[in-house]
C-alpha cells in the first residue's frame, strides 16, 4: 500500500507522481526501477525511479499514458493508494569519474536519465545532455536536467523548441566538437538504437537502459529477455543497463510489441468507459 503524496501534470500525456515508499527511497540508486500494481485487478508494470527523497521517504515516478494501466495511473490523484510498489529492482548504474559523459534522453526516457546524469555530475564528470522529443510539449524535466548538465541541447522533430532534428543530430554536434568518454541513452527503443549507432561511429562506449515487458521483475518470468552480444539476458536481473553497442535492438522492438493488438483493443475498450 503506497500513497500518492503529490501529482504534477508535466504535459498532456505525462504525469509525475511522488509516492510514499520509505524503504525504496532509502535504498534506491540511479538506474534502479520499481514494479507497480495499481489495484487488485491491475497488471505489474516496471517504472524507472526518476528521483527520491530519503528524508521524506518518497520516490518519484514519471508516467506516460500509453495503455490501460498508465492511463489509470495518470488519472490517480494525491491521496490515492497504489496497492503494490516493489523495489528497488535491477542493478544500479556504475558511476565513476569517466571525464565527459553524454546523456541522451528521448521523451519520457528523460525521467530515468535524470538521476543518472545527476550521479555522474556528482562524481565529478563533465555532463553534456541532449534531450529530444517530437515537439516542445513533450520535453520534460528541462530545468532539472539543466541543473546537472554543463551543456544542454534540446532537439524537437518539428522544431517547435530548441533545434529541429533528431536526438542523433544533437549528439553528433557534441561528438564532433569534444572528446566524450561515455554515453548514456534512455528513451524509446528505436531512438536508443539510432543513438547507439551514432556513438559507435565515434567509438564512444555507451550504455542503454531498457524498459521491456516484465511480470515479476525479479528474474522469474523471462518476459524481459533481450539478446546482448549474442546471448539471452534478463533485463530485470542482468540489467536494466547494457552495453548499447551489443544490444539487438530490432529483436527488442519486436518483443516490445508482443501484446500490441490485445493492448490496443483493451485500451480502446477502456477509453470508451471513461
Amino acid at each position: 500500500m503506497n500513497k500518492i503524496i503529490e501529482k504534477e501534470q508535466l504535459n498532456n500525456n505525462v504525469v509525475k507522481l511522488i509516492i510514499d515508499a520509505p524503504r525504496i527511497a532509502e535504498k534506491r540508486k540511479a538506474g534502479h526501477f520499481v514494479i507497480v500494481k495499481i489495484d487488485d485487478k491491475g497488471e505489474r508494470i516496471p517504472l524507472t525511479i526518476a528521483d527520491a527523497d530519503a528524508k521524506k521517504g518518497t520516490i518519484t515516478l514519471v508516467i506516460q499514458k500509453v495503455g490501460v494501466t498508465s492511463h489509470k495511473l495518470s488519472l490517480m490523484e494525491e491521496g490515492d493508494i497504489l496497492t503494490d510498489v516493489v523495489g528497488p529492482l535491477g542493478n544500479a548504474t556504475e558511476i565513476e569519474n569517466e571525464g565527459t559523459v553524454l546523456c541522451a534522453g528521448g521523451g519520457v526516457g528523460i525521467a530515468p536519465l535524470l538521476p543518472i546524469a545527476r550521479a555522474f555530475k556528482e562524481a565529478g564528470n563533465r555532463v553534456v545532455s541532449v534531450l529530444a522529443a517530437r515537439n516542445k510539449d513533450l520535453i520534460i524535466l528541462e530545468e532539472e536536467m539543466k541543473e546537472c548538465s554543463d551543456e544542454l541541447i534540446i532537439m524537437t522533430d518539428d522544431g517547435s523548441y530548441g533545434k529541429q532534428g533528431l536526438v542523433t543530430h544533437g549528439m553528433e554536434e557534441i561528438l564532433d566538437k569534444e572528446k566524450v568518454n561515455l554515453a548514456v541513452t534512455i528513451g524509446p527503443a528505436i531512438m536508443m538504437k539510432f543513438a547507439s549507432q551514432t556513438t559507435k561511429k565515434y567509438n564512444v562506449p555507451t550504455i542503454a537502459s531498457l524498459n521491456t515487458i516484465m511480470v515479476d521483475g525479479t528474474g522469474m518470468c523471462g518476459a524481459c529477455r533481450v539478446t546482448v552480444d549474442g546471448k539471452t539476458k534478463f533485463v530485470c536481473v542482468d540489467g536494466p543497463e547494457f552495453d548499447a553497442h551489443k544490444i539487438d535492438f530490432d529483436e527488442m522492438i519486436m518483443r516490445l510489441g508482443a501484446y500490441q493488438e490485445q493492448e490496443r483493443k483493451d485500451y480502446e475498450n477502456y477509453l470508451e468507459t471513461l
Binding site: G42, D216, M220, G222, R255
Partner: protein, 497 residues
C-alpha cells in the same frame, strides 16, 4: 529417532486405536478395493479452471481408511518428508473423527490441504505402504485421505489452530513465502518465535500461487492455510525483496536473529536455440504466472495473455503438464507436449500425465525442438523438431536421448511454452557474497540442519535443490526450523554462561 519410534508405539497402543484395529479382520481389510477419486469429466474440465479432482465423500473416505492395517511398523511414515503420523490420521477417519484427523495432520504439516493435492504420494508414502511392499496391491490412498481430512475441517468452519508456545520474543526472518518458507514459519511460530515472512511478489504462497494452476490447487485453499499461519502469529510482508528492499544486514540490525532462505528456483531456463526469443514463446513461469497469479484469462483483470490455437509445450515435468493443460483451458485446439525422452521417462506425476491424456493433450515424445520460425511481425508460426531415440543410460539412470540425423520436420504452432526447468534465483546469493554457493548457484547447506556457510542463515527448497517438489521443500523447511531452533538455543546458552 528412537524417541519418535517410542512415541509412535505408545500412540498405537492407545485403547481407541486397539479398538478400531480389532473392529475389522485384516483379511477383510485387504480384500477391499482402493477408492477411485471422483473427477470432473475430461471434456468438461478442459474448458474450465475448476479443480479436476472433486474429493472423496465421507463414506468413501471411511471405507478407504478401513483398508489401512495400522501396521506395527508403519513404513509409510518413513516415506513422508515431513513425517506425518499417517496411521493415526487414517484411523481417526475410520472412527469418523474427521476433525481429530485434521489435527493429527497439522502436528507436522503446515499445509495439509495443499500436500493432499500436489504431493507425489505414489513415490513417497504410498510407495512404502505395506500393500505395495508386501501384498503387491494398490496402496492405501493416503493422499486422497489427507486431502479429505483437511477439506472436511476447512468446510466445517471449525478450523483448529495448533497450540503455540508462549512467545519468546526472538525474531526470525523467512525469505520467500513458498512451501519451504511456510513450513519453517509453521514450526517456528509453534515454538514461540516472532516470525516474519518476506515475499517479493504481491501475494503470499510462492509457487503454490503463481505456478500450480487452479485446476490442481485452488488459490483459495492456499489462502486458508496462510490464514491459519497468520492466526498462529506469523507476520507476512509482501513486496519486500530481501537483498534490495532491505538487506540481511539491515534485518540483523532490526533485531532478527536467524534467517531461512527459501527464495526458490526463480530463473527459467531456455534451450538457447535459434528463434527462441520470438513473440509468443514463453517460459512456463511467465505463462503460468500470467494465468494463475495475475488472472490474465479473466477479462476483468488487466494482465494480458495470448491464447493460442496450436500450443507446443516443451518439457516432460509437472510444470509442462500444468502449462499444456492450462493452454487447453484457454481455448487451444491442439495442445502438444514435446519431450526429448519417452513417455515412461517423463518426470511428471503419473496422475498428471493420465489427466492430460484424458483431456486430449497430444504427446510427442522422443522429439526435440531445434529452431523456431516467425511471421513478419515476429510471432512464432512454425517450429522445426528433431526425432530422438534412446541410447545408453546417463547419470540420471534414464536412457540418454540421441538425435536421429536427418529426421527433422516442421510443426505449425502459434504459442510455445518452454518448461525445461529453472535455475536458482540469483538475488539472495548476489546480495550476500559471503554465502557459499555451488557452481549451479544453489546455496550450500549442512544436510541435517540446513545451515549455510553463514551461521545465522539457513536455506531449503529449490534454492538448495535447484528444482524439486512442494513436499521436499516442506521437508527441508521442517529440518531447517529444527536447525534454526537449536542454533538459537545454543547461542542463548553461550550468552548465559
Amino acid at each position: 529417532m528412537d524417541n519418535i519410534q517410542e512415541t509412535l508405539k505408545a500412540e498405537r497402543q492407545k485403547p481407541w486405536r486397539e479398538e478400531i484395529r480389532k473392529a475389522i479382520k485384516p483379511k477383510d481389510r485387504t480384500s477391499m478395493q482402493r477408492v477411485k477419486m471422483p473427477e470432473q469429466e475430461p471434456d468438461v474440465r478442459n474448458k474450465n479452471h475448476k479443480e479436476v479432482n472433486r474429493g472423496l465423500t465421507e463414506q468413501m473416505a471411511v471405507k478407504e481408511a478401513q483398508r489401512c492395517l495400522d501396521c506395527a511398523n508403519p513404513t509409510c511414515i518413513s516415506g513422508c518428508p515431513v513425517g506425518i503420523n499417517i496411521p493415526k490420521f487414517i484411523k481417526r477417519i475410520e472412527q469418523g473423527e474427521f476433525l481429530e484427523s485434521a489435527k493429527v495432520l497439522k502436528e507436522t504439516n503446515a499445509l495439509p490441504a495443499v500436500c493432499g493435492r500436489v504431493c507425489p504420494q505414489e513415490v513417497q508414502c504410498e510407495a512404502s505402504c505395506f500393500y505395495v511392499q508386501k501384498l503387491k496391491k494398490d496402496p492405501v490412498a493416503i493422499g486422497f485421505l489427507e486431502r479429505f481430512a483437511a477439506d472436511y475441517e476447512r468446510n466445517s468452519g471449525n478450523i483448529s489452530i495448533p497450540e503455540v508456545k508462549k512467545k519468546n520474543g526472538i525474531k526470525v526472518g523467512i525469505i520467500g513465502s513458498g512451501p519451504s518458507g511456510l513450513a519453517v514459519a509453521g514450526d517456528m511460530v509453534k515454538w514461540g518465535y516472532d516470525v516474519t515472512v518476506f515475499e517479493a511478489l504481491h501475494e503470499i504462497g510462492g509457487v503454490l500461487k503463481y505456478g500450480i494452476p487452479e485446476f490442481r490447487l485452488p488459490n483459495e485453499i492456499v489462502d486458508v492455510e496462510i490464514e491459519n499461519l497468520k492466526s498462529m502469529g506469523v507476520k507476512f510482508k509482501t513486496n519486500f525483496v530481501v537483498g534490495t528492499t532491505g538487506s540481511v544486514d539491515d534485518l540483523r540490525e532490526e533485531g532478527f536473529e536467524a534467517f531461512f532462505v527459501g527464495s526458490g528456483a526463480g530463473l527459467p531456463r531456455f534451450m538457447n536455440i535459434k528463434g527462441e526469443n520470438y513473440r509468443r514463446i514463453f517460459s512456463s513461469n511467465e505463462y503460468l504466472t500470467r494465468v494463475n497469479l495475475m488472472n490474465a484469462a479473466n477479462p476483468d483483470y488487466d494482465t494480458p495473455v495470448f491464447s493460442g490455437k496450436n500450443v507446443a509445450v516443451i518439457g516432460g515435468g509437472n510444470t509442462a503438464m500444468d502449462s499444456v493443460r492450462t493452454s487447453k483451458r484457454l481455448g487451444a485446439e491442439k495442445s502438444m507436449i514435446i519431450y526429448r525422452r519417452s513417455i515412461e521417462e517423463m518426470p511428471a506425476r503419473v496422475e498428471e500425465v493420465e489427466h492430460a491424456k484424458e483431456e486430449d493433450i497430444i504427446f510427442m515424445n522422443l522429439n526435440n525442438p531445434v529452431e523456431y520460425f516467425a511471421d513478419e511481425n515476429g510471432n512464432v508460426n512454425r517450429m522445426r523438431v528433431q526425432k530422438m531415440e534412446l541410447g545408453e543410460p546417463d547419470s540420471s539412470g534414464r536412457r540418454r536421448p540421441v538425435p536421429l540425423e536427418g529426421s527433422e520436420y516442421e510443426v505449425d504452432v502459434d504459442t510455445v511454452v518452454v518448461a525445461i526447468g529453472v535455475s536458482p534465483n540469483p538475488l539472495i546469493p548476489a546480495s550476500m557474497p559471503e554465502l557459499d554457493v555451488t557452481d549451479w548457484g544453489t546455496i550450500k547447506v549442512d544436510q541435517d540442519s540446513m545451515q549455510s556457510s553463514v551461521e545465522d542463515v539457513f536455506a531449503g527448497g529449490d534454492i538448495v535443490r535447484g528444482g524439486a517438489t512442494v513436499i521436499l521443500a516442506m521437508g527441508d523447511g521442517r529440518k531447517a526450523a529444527a536447525g534454526m531452533h537449536s542454533y538459537i538455543q545454543e547461542k542463548a546458552g553461550k550468552r548465559k554462561s
